[in-house]
Symmetry: C2
């Protein structure tokens, strides 16, 4: 008997974390479903768990094993956590086509180009009510307000019914860039009957209704007018709405706008090309800024999260591209500090404090609004779409849980489906299986598995230091001329005349000197002796057990 068709949903990234969004919808008989992929984003490394790593992307191996069944990739909007991995993962997925609206498509093309992939696979599509067919799926890009132009929810129709994938959104009638939120459009889409709403959970713990981007103009205007010197404002490079709100507030106060930082300039250039940024004030070139009086200058700078090499950190530490802050200037964080980045942001605030420069951080909330739906906005969205089931995504596990509870409070089914949970939404939504998920690290120019041990070895060296030991055996199999030890990341000691490395050499020499001839002929045995002797003497002298690399050479 043929298996019946089913409609499934699966998160490969983004459900149980904030970042690296990647979702899969499947339709067809079990194990023969056709797939569409929604978004393909990155997340960022940190020293605690991924030192040296450049970017983190979802491990797509579940999908890769079924790549011949992928109909298309859909990108909802141009933020890095949604589009950033499309170039890196494309070689593994080889989807026949990538669909996105114009501005998003421009970014997807850039990502493909940088990864050496075929940019012609990126197809630019129009917004709802236009739709595209992808196997059994008919997909429409429903314009929604967010903090970037052309953000879209997806309306996904299948023979088993309709799904709405909210993607990142806020409910904003005056979003400054992109389309205003149109409740009637969402109600219309919902009126046809929706099986499941897959919905942004980021701000489920925020109890007040979200504020409009336009509400910032007044407070920002006051700052621009009242500051005697230069105003430097930082926000996410990709928050195009904020860049425009800031630039317009500066312009209204008679300030010329200078943009510092590659990512921000790139984002504005793409927005201009895609014609989604009409009426953005003219932008100075850095060399022209010197001619502008400080009180007539607004600098928009990258690095709102305190990133060391970005414009903000450089300005706080001294200068950047000839621009230098002085007392009388103002540094404004028009951003939210993402958890984990507090220390880096505080470093900037303290450096500014040391130099006598006034700063406004993100604490009072007057100069930033979120691009995501708060709890009351979620209530509105659930009501407009009126789905049978709400499946929270775009959140840590606690966000998903709270969002599912909210759905249940509102009388609908709320289903927590973290990364890897395969949900059958054909009839009553339920988890029917589990796909292995994980993370890949872009490390220099290669991609490594998070669990491969490469990063674990880096962390071990960072915590314990490293000893390299070279042992040479002569033709008769006897250690020759003493071993050689080089330490790195280890304290020295005064408790041994020539320091730690010499002490380790002596300890190894002694250990090998006592060893049986048969053991000395065995590389594994020698390595064990070397590691044991090294650890023992290091614990004794400096209280640490370093990571040891043993290199045994035999002359014969």
């Amino acid at each position: 008997m043929a298996k019946p068709d089913r409609l499934i949903y699966l998160a490969l990234g983004g459900a149980g974390e904030i970042g690296m969004n990647m979702y899969v919808y499947g339709y067809g008989p079990q194990d023969a479903e056709r797939f569409i992929v929604v978004d393909c984003g990155v997340t960022f490394p940190n020293m605690d768990s991924s030192p040296g790593v450049d970017l983190i992307v979802p491990d797509p191996h579940w999908l890769q094993a079924r790549a011949d069944r992928i109909e298309a990739i859909f990108i909802t909007h141009a933020h890095e956590d949604h589009v950033g991995a499309v170039g890196h993962l494309f070689p593994r997925l080889k989807a026949p086509v990538i669909y996105a609206r114009r501005f998003t498509a421009a970014h997807a093309k850039l990502k493909m180009e940088r990864a050496g992939q075929d940019t012609t696979l990126v197809h630019q599509v129009d917004a709802w009510p236009r739709t595209v067919e992808a196997g059994p799926f008919t997909v429409g890009f429903l314009p929604v307000s967010h903090s970037i132009p052309e953000a879209s929810s997806l309306v996904i129709d299948t023979p088993a019914g309709r799904i709405v994938h909210s993607a990142d959104f806020k409910i904003d009638a005056t979003p400054i860039v992109g389309e205003p939120f149109q409740p009637e459009l969402f109600r219309e889409v919902g009126a046809k009957g929706v099986k499941a709403l897959i919905c942004d959970s980021t701000n489920v713990f925020v109890s007040h209704p979200g504020r409009s981007e336009a509400s910032l103009s007044e407070a920002l205007g006051a700052v621009m007018r009242e500051t005697k010197g230069m105003v430097v404002a930082t926000t996410f490079a990709s928050n195009v709405a904020r860049l425009k709100t800031l630039a317009e507030a500066g312009q209204a106060a008679g300030r010329s706008v200078l943009v510092l930082g590659r990512a921000m300039r790139q984002m504005l250039a793409t927005a201009r090309t895609a014609e989604v940024l009409d009426s953005f004030p003219p932008v100075l070139e850095p060399q022209d800024a010197a001619d502008v009086a400080r009180g007539k200058l607004l600098v928009l700078a990258t690095g709102s999260q305190g990133e060391r090499r970005a414009a903000s950190a450089q300005l706080a530490a001294g200068s950047y591209q000839g621009i230098e802050l002085k007392p009388g200037d103002l540094f404004l964080f028009s951003s939210k500090t993402i958890p984990g980045n507090e220390v880096e942001v505080a470093r900037i605030l303290n450096q500014l404090s040391e130099r006598g420069i006034r700063a406004i951080d993100d604490t009072d909330g007057r100069y930033h609004v979120s691009g995501h739906p708060n709890r009351p906005d979620l209530v509105s969205m659930h009501g407009l779409i009126d789905p049978v089931t709400v499946i929270p995504n775009h959140g840590e596990h606690r966000h998903l849980t709270a969002h599912a509870e909210l759905a249940r409070e509102l009388g609908r089914k709320g289903l927590v489906a973290a990364n890897g949970a395969i949900v059958d939404v054909t009839d009553e939504a339920r988890i029917v299986g589990h796909a292995e998920t994980g993370r890949l690290y872009l490390d220099g120019s290669t991609m490594i598995g998070a669990m491969e041990g490469v990063v674990r070895d880096r962390l071990r060296m960072a915590l314990r230091g490293h000893l390299a030991v070279s042992v040479i055996f002569d033709e008769e199999g006897r250690p020759m001329g003493g071993v050689w030890v080089e330490g790195l990341g280890l304290p020295d000691t005064r408790r041994y005349p020539d320091g730690l490395a010499a002490a380790v050499e002596a300890a190894i020499d002694q250990s090998l000197g006592r060893a049986k001839r048969s053991d000395l002929a065995d590389d594994d045995a020698v390595e064990r002796m070397v590691v044991q002797a090294s650890n023992r003497i290091c614990m004794d002298l400096v209280g640490k057990k370093p990571v040891v690399t043993v290199m045994i050479s035999r002359l014969d």
Copy 2:
């Protein structure tokens, strides 16, 4: 002509950071002042800047060079950032005596004992109006409310006048442990005329008056009564006030109290011995907890900052000492998440969410009050002491700046003196010099300078990986049998048949094969060639430049 006597103040740690408090007061002719040291605290390492380090303490070398002029060390209270370094730094300072009140003295003795130092040097002193003489200084411990018993401000009298060193405090009439704040006492001390108030700045940005520890009882009581299952509450092990508030709320709801975590049990034991913890509810032994119904149990657990090995993280991940959380239980953070620890705390919240256990985090502020003075409390303290000058301490630079501004707004002199600034407070307070300050790392069993490069090498290996290269030259000075390369923390590559290490070996062999005989005879030249060849091939194959250790052996 003899130099006139002067009274100076200097922070060696704690001014320009929150942590590792260590302050120096000096009186006498310039360069012949006699010194007292106030507090000797630690701060904690992190992966970003100090991987592998166990503890961070102030670099005392300025004081060490003048150790013969130290009269005494005074410890204001038993928090780690005030007493934690006394054992580690004592060998360098060799102060003749350490003064503290009874409970604090018990902790100082523990620290001295663990560091193998003479515990009899710790002298227990009574509170104000009793005072002790230390050279030209007369010092009294003025009881103040904080979150730990016997916290004290110091009244420091000198021939040049009086200083008040606030130390950590809050203004709390009902602090649960320790003495209530006594405004009349502070007014009395101030009435004699105070040259300078050195004052806690931690909460200068918090605009509402601080709340009393006692104000928590109601909300905590409700949680204890309404939760069906077990309640686990975490806070700082050293927040003795909170431990008591929690335990009493639990007891009132009919719950027995179990304490999990070494630091918390130690803190309570010391408090009992010092007789500062009367009426603390009886505490269960872990083995007896099994006999108590879940709804009748309150667990106090260490690890409020998400520390991986502490009780809270272990409970969230599975179980700890036989205690396991289940749905129906509640996990309560009765604490503030210190900036930088958000990700670790969120990990606990998410693990609990995955296991279906309800958690209350620190966001709504109903289950935690700070132990430090908010802005209105600072206004009160300035008013009570009415000093000529306020010198902010215990804060990052931005806190010091804002606190000094507040002092000026209130009509007094506010002087920012970050670590190392030598302030002459004899007449009008002003910065007259600069002492070099810094950090020492306790690393395993040794103490290393933060700038020595040990930790920098660990960070380099963590970011770039490591290659060990062994080259052997024969009696004629020719490379023998090919070099040997071992990589660690580096991705492998499929772009070379036998992987990255083999590719590096081939590249080095080729480079040495082309070298002149005279270069091969020169170890420095060989090392340069090896590093260059390694970097080039690694950049080419994996896009990274590893740290390279080269070991050259010559047979002769």
